[in-house]
Symmetry: C2
Subunit: 102 residues, 2 copies
Amino acid sequence: MSHSKYESGNRKSNEIFIGKKPLMTYVTATLVQLANEPTVVIKARGKSITRAVDVAQIIVKRMNTLGYRVEKVKLGSDVLTGTEDDKPRNVSTIEVSISRSK
Amino acid sequence: MSHSKYESGNRKSNEIFIGKKPLMTYVTATLVQLANEPTVVIKARGKSITRAVDVAQIIVKRMNTLGYRVEKVKLGSDVLTGTEDDKPRNVSTIEVSISRSK
């Protein structure tokens, strides 16, 4: 199992990590968080980056009556250790902050 | 072949569209553009979104001596028409603007 700060467990309550579950699971989770938090950060890395953008677009565009917007998008990269060939590997990351439109 | 404004040919000279070529093809193309343009916009949609982030991270992080930075990241969605089942489909898009650090 590869490790990085991404999974080190110091997750804040307003963070949603995109994994392999169905997309709407993350849309629902984000909406539930947005009911309690002013801003929710959708985080993903590698191949899940596209799904993070999908979740953000569904909330902002297709559910536009709810009045949420993309506040900030942060790109980064993480070093994956413990991979099969034991070589550390760079993986891209994205953080999409969603908040209520002003 | 699916169509959208994405392929309507009104491409500007400082735009790089991520497709299926090897990653370094797009890294090189972006660097060549950055030699002539103050800002280059890396565009991708759907599954290629992750590769657009990879290209940006390679240029900004692994080639950090070149002094480029991510200036802006824009998320959006496009409507794909002419798909197999003839139903228009939403696809997420990303635009990553890279420019010289101030």
